[in-house]
């Protein structure tokens, strides 16, 4: 029993780390640009499919990443520049942004289906085998996923706090007008943030693909999950999303073990609703 509980905990923390990475991407976009990117799931899938294509050329993991990461960044930046930015002068542009990213999601997901077909694709695992520490068995792949996700997030937090660009991003998130006043090129920051978040969620797609496969519409699940996590953490709060992701990751593992995974979202929404009733602004509710 204790052994099973420990497995559940480990499983929850592992998946939580990837969720955290992806939720941070969404919190970033929402916190900085105030846009809700409905095509977020499609970028998750994009990571998986791009990797699939490059693996098809018999490249190793690192070369594949070296190709996929810039591609994702450009895709994200391009989306902001050509699809979202022109909307800002419209009335009610936030709603228009949701609609247009919805169109983008429709386009991308069905494009994937046309190109790759409906059957799921798999990516090679980076590691196989298990690690034994005491009586606990970890799969090496899971450990690797955890380490990669945590490292990425760690680097990202350092970037935000210590680099000049990072400060600019934080400034735009905290007060967009203030950022304009001090001369920060707001539009470039918006594009940059979209690019980074595409990389974050796309990496999530690559890390999870060996276990959960890549499919044309698999991104919607991720969109909803990232959304719930970000909402729980407090829309736009990076640290909040971090905590929320681990909490919900563990909830998912637990619910999956006891009741079956179909109840996961149900449980997540229950947690979210209860939290919002007590604290309408989410766990941490502010930027930071």
């Amino acid at each position: 029993m204790l052994r099973e509980l420990l497995d559940v905990l480990i499983s929850g923390i592992t998946i939580g780390s990837v969720y955290a990475m992806m939720a941070i991407g969404m919190a970033l976009i929402y916190g900085v640009t105030k846009v809700f990117n409905f095509a977020y799931g499609s970028f998750y899938t994009m990571g998986g499919y791009l990797a699939f294509v490059f693996f098809g050329f018999n490249l190793g993991y690192l070369p594949v990443l070296a190709l996929v990461v810039p591609a994702l960044f450009l895709a994200g930046m391009g989306t902001e520049k050509f699809i979202v930015r022109p909307l800002r002068k419209h009335d009610n542009w936030e709603m228009a942004a949701v609609m247009i990213t919805l169109g983008l999601a429709l386009f991308l997901d069905n494009l994937y289906q046309v190109i790759f077909g409906s059957y799921v694709k798999s990516l090679p695992s980076l590691f196989t085998g298990n690690l034994n520490i005491g009586t606990v068995v970890f799969s090496v792949q899971d450990v690797a996923i955890f380490i990669v996700a945590i490292s990425i997030m760690f680097l990202f937090m350092i970037f935000l706090g210590r680099t000049r660009t990072g400060m600019a991003v934080e400034a735009v998130a905290q007060d967009t007008v203030g950022a304009e006043i001090v001369g920060i090129p707001k539009d470039m920051v918006f594009g940059f943030v979209f690019g980074v978040s595409a990389v974050l969620v796309g990496m999530g797609g690559i890390l999870l693909a060996p276990k959960y496969y890549v499919s044309p519409f698999g991104g919607w699940n991720i969109l909803v999950k990232a959304w719930v996590i970000t909402a729980l953490g407090g829309m736009g709060s990076i640290r909040g999303s971090l905590y929320a992701a681990f909490i919900l990751g563990i909830v998912e593992a637990f619910v999956g073990w006891q009741f079956g995974y179909t109840w996961t979202l149900f449980a997540w929404f229950a947690v979210l609703l209860i939290t919002l009733i007590i604290r309408p602004q989410g766990l941490l509710g502010t930027w930071g």
């Binding site: 929402y30 809700f36 699809i83 022109p86 909307l87 419209h90 009335d91 009610n92 936030e94 709603m95 228009a96 949701v98 609609m99 247009i100 919805l102 169109g103 983008l104 999601a105 429709l106 386009f107 991308l108 997901d109 069905n110 494009l111 289906q113 046309v114 519409f217 919607w220 909803v224 959304w227 719930v228 909402a231 829309m235 179909t262 109840w263 979202l265 149900f266 929404f269 979210l272 609703l273 919002l276 009733i277 309408p280």
Partner: protein, 338 residues
């Protein structure tokens, strides 16, 4: 308050559309496929219009309309099967059930910020499917996974609607949708309606003039849910069977496309959007999977270049926006004080 030019034009457009609709069967009554498509368009037009009412006009971002549609549908189906009342009452019941649910959902939602409302209503949508399939659902008669197979059809006197003669259901759909749209129209153009629009365009501005948003928002939640639920019940009795698969993403996305095509916040955009979207969808069917890819591109183009939708093409918004009117009111107050 007399009818303004804009209101007259919108009403005329609606009447024009409905005149054509009433006359359609003369041309196509033999073609069951087309008749079915038309009825489908009318059903989704009401759902889209109710969604436009709460999102496009009242500016409340929600994803609950499909859920309310389904609640109305299942509610009426179950009630007519178990108690055996007439499906006409079922439609009313379905609407009321959905309406009450709408009020219940609206109550907590309105305390939250915009993005959260969307999430909570989306949650309602997502929770509905497992609920319908669960044992609790089955106990009340939802039929679990396979759903409900035989739902009593509508009937007029002794005559039962059948799938062979689609003219009676067609005219029923015409009448029901007309009533729904007129209700929506009345709401938009009432004093409440202007308050909604002011809220949507600038909540701070409107609040400073004393517009109480909670009551209005709750009302809109309820009414749009009611309409979706009522037409959902009609759908159940028309199609004769119901399963939770209807809660899938496809319907959702197509409804949003309808709003974009028709023009959000432009009456009767939802109706126009519904007909155009479904027609295009059917025309593109031979292209199979490319169909939705093209839809995606169409949506992107429409939002970028035609944000007012097709209605915007026909009747571009000229004349003063509510924000302008509020601004001028503010100015004239200053003037009278000096």
């Amino acid at each position: 308050m007399g009818l303004t030019m804009k209101m007259k034009k919108e009403l005329l457009l609606l009447l024009a559309i409905y005149t054509v609709l009433c006359l359609m069967p003369l041309a196509v009554h033999g073609n069951l496929y087309l008749m079915n498509i038309l009825i489908t368009c009318l059903i989704w037009a009401v759902v889209a219009a109710s969604w436009d009412l709460i999102m496009g006009f009242a500016g409340i971002f929600t994803f609950g309309q499909v859920a309310f549609f389904v609640i109305g549908a299942f509610g009426s189906a179950i009630l007519t099967r178990t108690i055996g009342i007439s499906p006409w009452f079922g439609i009313l019941f379905g609407g009321m059930l959905a309406g009450v649910m709408g009020l219940l959902v609206g109550l907590p939602c309105l305390r939250l910020k915009g993005a959260y409302v969307a999430l909570v209503t989306f949650a309602v949508h997502m929770i509905l499917e497992p609920f319908l399939k669960s044992s609790v659902g089955r106990t009340i008669g939802t039929g679990g996974s396979p759903g409900i197979m035989s739902i009593p059809p509508l009937s007029l006197g002794q005559y039962e609607f059948s799938s062979m003669n689609l003219i009676p259901p067609y005219y029923t759909a015409v009448v029901l949708s007309m009533i729904s749209l007129l209700i929506i129209y009345k709401i938009i153009n009432s004093t409440w309606g202007l308050a909604f629009i002011a809220l949507r365009d600038s909540e701070v501005f409107a609040n400073s003039l004393g517009v109480d948003d909670f009551k209005y928002k709750l009302l809109v939640f309820g009414i749009s849910a009611f309409l979706a639920g009522a037409v959902g019940a009609f759908y159940a009795h028309y199609v004769g069977m119901l399963s939770s698969r209807i809660l899938g993403l496809d319907l959702f996305l197509i409804l949003m496309v309808m709003l974009v095509v028709g023009g959000m916040g432009r009456f009767p955009g939802a109706v126009i959007g519904s007909f155009i979207t479904i027609s295009v969808s059917e025309l593109l069917r031979p292209l199979e999977n490319y169909r939705l890819v093209i839809f995606g591109v169409i949506v992107i183009f429409l939002v970028l270049f035609l944000p007012q939708g097709v209605t915007g093409l026909l009747f571009p918004v000229k004349g003063k926006s509510p924000l302008t009117r509020l601004g001028e009111y503010f100015r004239s107050r200053w003037r009278t004080q000096h």
